[in-house]
């Protein structure tokens, strides 16, 4: 049953590539619904047992899958309305690729076999490439090229990491299937040096995909050039998938008793990401790039949180959930802004409260959310990470962490305030906003809000199960 979550979008996706655009839109949304149903079945453990060693439903995987499925539901809804208002010559390709992309990401979420995980992550790159270059403008071509090449190189290195992990097993003459679940059982016997080497390549390889600095370079280009629904999916779901891959390896390291080392590596990369995004959010001129850098920052925060472990790991997982919700909402709002103003340059936007009030509202609310203000969830997660980090005695790390947060907030708030509040010279609006397009971002934000007020026990349990394997606990 589990495999259906990627079989179905795969099949429908291929079909949609060859079907007319109108049918494709319907198929897109209905597949999203079906995918959500299967995810729910899996979430509540209602489906039958697995018959394969390649896949498994780990708690962290289920978490990523659930976020993915939930986001895709709203993003596909948005896409349906969005497509109704923009002219896209290759719409079937776009819709089909969205589904294929969904399929690949679902596969990442449930992959257990190391190489299968690698295959799935590489597949996400390839399936999402068409989404970025669907406009075929010079900029989008450049973005796609960088995306595909850099990510492929990175992920190729991750393959090397896989080999090293496998070899660490051979060095100690153990023979178990090379899936994470079975490796975890023998983790303590693995050769530490090769495991460390494997981890490095894992982190650098999948970190490229996750947007960890200094391998993040493709991310701002790709996220800003992709059509907004695709950007939302890239930022909200894909990055989580890449993170999942890194997380799996960290888990293995932790079980093997090398948690200290992998934690340090994750914290270092996380902080580097935050600093780099601070550099580029200050004085940014393009609002989609700003959001992209903010994704880098948040991936950095998650990496730091996971690296610190303990309470911070819980915070990191919460951060992942809320970041996905809020960031995809922001990207969808950005899509509305782009439709309205016809430009991604911040200087040419303005007076949003008057011209695009609903979008202005969602955009600013999303910004408040991403900056860690209540009532949105990132407030809780960032607070937990800070508390956890100090508890763990990582004073320097938390110093840099806070410093970057302040810088990023200073940079981003200036831009967002300019966009939403400043006076625009003329009142030209290309496409007036509609409820249909404003609703998905609102709903996503409301979900984040609802999860702050009431977190379902099953999510809480899942997070706890997920982080228990890296020493994460809610009790410090």
């Amino acid at each position: 049953m589990l495999q259906f979550v990627f079989y179905i979008p795969l099949i429908v996706g291929i079909a949609v590539l060859f079907l007319p655009a109108k049918i494709g839109r319907v198929a897109l949304f209905s597949t999203a619904v079906i995918h959500a149903m299967f995810t729910a079945l899996e979430w509540f453990k209602l489906s039958g047992p697995l018959h394969t060693s390649y896949f498994s439903n780990t708690p962290e995987g289920m978490l990523v899958l659930a976020i993915l499925s939930f986001l895709f539901l709203f993003i596909s809804l948005y896409t349906v309305f969005y497509m109704g208002e923009v002219e896209m010559s290759k719409e079937p390709v776009f819709n089909g690729s969205m589904l294929l992309f969904l399929s690949a990401m679902s596969m990442v979420a449930i992959a257990d076999h190391i190489i299968m995980l690698w295959v799935a992550v590489e597949a996400t790159t390839l399936m999402s490439a068409p989404l970025i270059f669907v406009h075929r403008s010079k900029a989008s071509l450049e973005a796609t090229w960088k995306y595909v090449l850099i990510c492929s190189v990175g992920i190729a290195l991750a393959l090397l990491g896989c080999f090293f992990v496998i070899f660490s097993m051979e060095m100690s003459n153990i023979h178990v299937p090379i899936s994470f679940s079975s490796l975890n059982t023998v983790a303590s016997q693995l050769d530490p040096v090769w495991l460390k080497a494997g981890f490095i390549f894992f982190v650098i390889g999948f970190g490229t995909k996750m947007g960890l600095a200094p391998m993040h370079t493709w991310l701002p280009d790709a996220h800003s050039e992709a059509p907004s629904p695709a950007s939302a999916l890239l930022s909200g779901a894909l990055l989580n998938c890449a993170f999942l891959a890194v997380y799996r390896c960290h888990q293995l390291m932790f079980t093997a008793g090398l948690g200290d080392y992998s934690s340090k590596v994750l914290i270092a990369f996380g902080l580097a990401s935050m600093l780099v995004s601070a550099v580029f959010i200050l004085n940014q001129t393009d609002y989609k790039r700003m959001l992209a850098y903010s994704s880098i920052e948040n991936m950095g925060i998650i990496a730091v949180g996971i690296g610190i472990g303990g309470l911070a790991a819980f915070g990191a997982m919460l951060h992942m959930i809320h970041h996905s919700l809020v960031k995809s909402s922001l990207f969808l709002s950005a899509g509305n802004i782009l439709l309205g103003y016809g430009t991604k340059t911040i200087d040419k936007t303005g007076s949003m409260l008057r011209l695009l009030p609903k979008t202005g509202l969602t955009f600013f609310a999303g910004f408040a959310g991403i900056s860690g203000f209540p009532p949105f969830g990132l407030f809780v997660s960032e607070l937990l990470i800070i508390l956890g980090a100090i508890k763990a005695g990582r004073y320097v790390a938390i110093g840099i962490f806070i410093f970057s947060l302040i810088l990023i907030f200073a940079g981003a708030s200036k831009l967002v305030m300019q966009m939403v509040f400043s006076e625009k010279e003329n009142d030209d609006i290309l496409v007036p906003e509609k409820w249909t397009r404003a609703l998905p971002p609102i709903l996503l934000l409301l979900t984040s809000l609802a999860l702050v007020i009431w977190l379902p026990d099953s999510i809480y349990q899942t997070i706890q199960n997920a982080i228990s394997s890296i020493g994460g606990t809610v009790n410090g």
Binding site: M116, A139, E142, V148, L149, L160, I166
Partner: protein, 218 residues
């Protein structure tokens, strides 16, 4: 058998060094095809415990098909469409690249000797050297050349190198063909996607020079 595998590895190294100093795109593609076939054959000539099985042969054929024919074929199509089929003004010059390649070999020998790999057979060690060199050379190509096509070739070379390292390290028991096949499929699709993008780049920019692809920055 050892001698045969060594010869194969020498051929790979040769193709690596040649590709580092080649400035013609077509020549590079041909080198890649050659390298692809040789790399595919390496598992066959290694002294494996199980000898030649049917699966192994089938997989060899598949590998050759993809790495030796399909991918180079696509690349040559792309190259034919490009107006300027030479690499002009590489970022790192040919001699320097070649020299870097040589250093890479020395470096990989050094690394391989440093590693405590008692369990590996001598042939595997040489394989490891070749693999690392190939990977490194691929990365050098990626960083040193301006033409997008050359970068794809660099990527392929790097992939070959990683494949060789994998072959050197991993024993057969762990490689399941479903997985290997999936990896291969990914590679194929990756090159396909790159080819499509390349084609579009060529169309839009009238060249595949990555110097033109530097507009997105901060």
């Amino acid at each position: 058998m050892i001698h045969i595998s060594n010869i194969f590895l020498a051929m790979i190294l040769l193709s690596v060094l040649l590709s580092l100093r080649s400035n013609r795109l077509m020549a590079l593609v041909k080198l890649m095809a050659f390298q692809g076939i040789v790399v595919s054959a390496v598992p066959m000539v290694l002294d494996t415990a199980h000898g030649l099985t049917f699966n192994l042969i089938m997989f060899f054929i598949l590998l050759v098909l993809v790495k030796g024919i399909l991918i180079p074929g696509m690349m040559s199509v792309a190259v034919n469409k490009v107006v300027a089929s030479r690499e002009i003004e590489p970022i790192i010059g040919y001699h320097a690249s070649l020299f870097a390649g040589l250093i890479m070999i020395v470096f990989s020998v050094y690394i391989t000797n440093q590693l405590n790999l008692a369990s590996l057979a001598a042939s595997h060690k040489l394989l490891l050297v070749t693999g690392i060199t190939t990977m490194g050379a691929g990365l050098i190509l990626l960083m040193a050349r301006r033409k997008a096509i050359t970068q794809v070739i660099g990527y392929l070379m790097m992939e070959n190198g990683i494949y060789l390292i994998g072959t050197a390290l991993a024993k057969e028991v762990h490689t399941q063909y479903v997985v290997e096949f999936a990896v291969l499929l990914d590679l194929l699709v990756a090159v396909l996607v790159m080819g499509i993008v390349l084609n579009d780049i060529n169309h839009t920019f009238d060249d595949v020079d990555t110097a033109l692809l530097g507009q997105l920055k901060d």
